[in-house]
Amino acid sequence: MADHTVCSTEELPAGASRLIEADGLEIGVFNCGGELLAIEDRCSHDDGPLAEGEFDPGTCTVECPRHGSLFDLRTGSPKSLPAFAPVETFEVRVEDGVIKLEVD
């Protein structure tokens, strides 16, 4: 398990998202109204760049730009087809004003 620095909390305000690379994985980090969440940037349906899709902070979901599956950022589970398998989620925490990510 390794810690990765994402950015400072000021750089990721509510409603914002950011893409980082950690241990060879592309990971999207999202701020849903103060709740920090992270998922792998790879749709379970067709390997689309999931975290780069439309982010809805109100429902804490992101929509895959390739075929439109909507994913719950808290659980990584798809809420609509064509994806049916969940994507990986990662733990995010804040230390001294810095957002950090745990990657297994």
């Binding site: 730009p65 075929h67 439109g68 909507l70 609509s80 087809l81 064509p82 049916f84 398998a85």
Partner: protein, 483 residues
């Protein structure tokens, strides 16, 4: 409409009655068109953001639906036209009327339907079918549903069967919960188009435990030249319920093309059973590009019976996602490609849970240079242990000018899956014809008999009236008189 009692006919007489017009050609039976006098609204040709907003405004939709349409329109515009399957580059997107309203609202009273439209559906036998063997009927003419009726007993049991525009007004929360969860607007370019300009279609909700004994039917009719019909259908079958839905489609014969691009979403909850039957008989100037997808939860059964006879080009691959343990999916598909036709049809089944089972039986007939294609996907995802499936594709070529292609894709991520795949391509042989002719049949009748035998596994799954209709349509195709 209050259906009168029907006298019980001798079955043989009934069948003779049903097939009496067997040699009537498509143009006379389905290919006529009505004058467009009295139309309420006909959008100018072409698609624009303004038109999408106008449709939503015209229908007085809630903001979320308007936003949904606009987002889908932007997606349609940004997405390239698919370059696989049939040749979609022939479609001139700017030469289509995307919305045509033929009458003011829809009615539950047949007598209130405008005369021309009523005559059309009378000629197509819709009210007669309702009286005889249906639980409910919806009839869509151009962009909107003009008539809708459902059996009162079913309504009392909580069954909802209405057109989609009415459902959005009267059951908005229920509709929104499931809307586009099976087929998102950016699933593909045609689903995006449908999502942008959708109009009409059916909304079906069957409460838990309710079994709808007789089928619900929708009938779709295009009348205008260069028309696009974009209905959306959503069926929700709650736990342990059972419903059969049948759709039929026809259009007039024109020299220029029309477009039909529907979206059909089905949710079969645990233990539910849904059968969706299509007898597609568009005239040969219609591009038929439809996205159909169902999800089957635990121990649910989903069945697609898909018969494609008409159209210039059909691209349609009904799919089933088996998401719950023990779910079962079946696709029975028939395609008939005659002169100038390309039927690119097939099925997709995704086993995404343990102990799921499925079967795909696809049969195609090609004649007079027609082209039929089977394109299918069978997937067993990781975790779907103990999955069983059988895929059978049979193609029959009636002459040397015709063509048949098969593109089966199978992806298996579990080692204990039990999958069978069989494919045959056959030609009606001279020896078969000779044998039947030696029994006194003409060559034409012998060919028909061979074709009828070939499609029998599908026709026997249809209600009698539809089996007779399908056989009749196949016979028309055999005579080359459709379209």
């Amino acid at each position: 409409m209050n259906p009168p009692e029907t006298a019980t006919l001798d079955p043989k007489l009934a069948e003779r009655e049903a097939i009496k017009d067997i040699n009537q050609d498509y143009k006379a039976k389905f290919g006529f068109n009505d004058p467009e006098t009295g139309y309420v609204y006909k959008a100018p040709k072409g698609l624009s953001r303004q038109l999408v907003e106008d449709i939503s405004e015209y229908k007085d939709e809630p903001q979320w639906m308007r936003d949904f349409r606009i987002k889908a329109y932007e997606h349609f515009e940004s997405r390239p036209t698919p370059q696989w399957g049939g040749n979609l580059n022939q479609i001139d997107w700017d030469d289509i009327h995307y919305f045509v309203r033929a009458s003011e609202g829809n009615s539950a009273n047949w007598d209130e339907v405008p005369e021309d439209i009523k005559n059309t559906f009378d000629r197509l036998g819709i009210p007669e079918a309702e009286r005889k063997f249906l639980s409910g009927v919806g009839a869509q003419y151009e962009s909107e549903v003009v008539y809708h009726q459902v059996n009162e007993k079913l309504e009392a049991q909580g069954v909802i069967f209405t057109d989609m525009d009415t459902a959005l007004r009267e059951h908005e929360d229920l509709l929104r919960e499931y809307w586009a969860t099976v087929i998102p607007p950016n699933d593909n370019k045609l689903a995006a188009l449908n999502s942008a300009v959708w109009s009409g279609g059916s909304f079906v909700y069957v409460p838990a435990g309710v079994k709808v004994e007789m089928p619900l039917q929708a009938y779709f009719r295009i009348n205008t030249e260069n028309m696009g019909q974009f209905e959306r259908t959503l069926i929700i079958a709650e736990e342990g319920s059972d419903v059969t839905y049948i759709e039929g489609c026809t259009a007039p014969v024109y020299s220029s093309d029309s477009l039909h691009s529907a979206v059909v979403e089905i949710v079969a909850k645990p233990g539910a059973r849904v059968r969706y039957t299509t007898v597609q008989n568009w005239s040969q100037n219609v591009f038929n590009l439809v996205t159909k997808r169902a999800v089957a939860h635990e121990n649910a059964t989903m069945e697609w019976v898909d018969c494609n006879l008409g159209s210039k080009l059909t691209m349609k691959y009904p799919s089933i996602y088996l998401l719950g343990e023990g779910a079962h999916g079946e696709v029975l598909s028939i395609a008939f490609a005659g002169d100038g036709q390309h039927q690119d049809a097939g099925a997709k089944i995704i086993h995404a849970a343990p102990k799921t089972t499925s079967s795909i039986f696809a049969k195609s007939i090609s004649k007079d240079g027609g082209r039929s294609t089977y394109r299918g996907l069978l997937e067993v995802a990781a975790g779907a242990t103990g999955a069983r499936s059988k895929v059978v594709c049979d193609a029959l070529l009636l002459d040397e000018d015709s063509r048949s292609d098969t593109y089966p894709t199978i992806r298996i991520d579990e080692s204990d899956a039990d999958i069978g795949h069989e494919a045959t391509v056959s030609k009606v042989g001279d020896d078969q014809l000779f044998y039947l002719q030696s029994r006194g049949l003409s060559e034409e009748d012998a060919s028909k008999m061979i074709v009828n035998g070939f499609i029998e596994p599908v026709t026997k799954e249809l209600p009698m009236e539809y089996a007779v209709e399908l056989n009749r349509l196949i016979e028309l195709q055999m005579e080359g008189s459709i379209g």
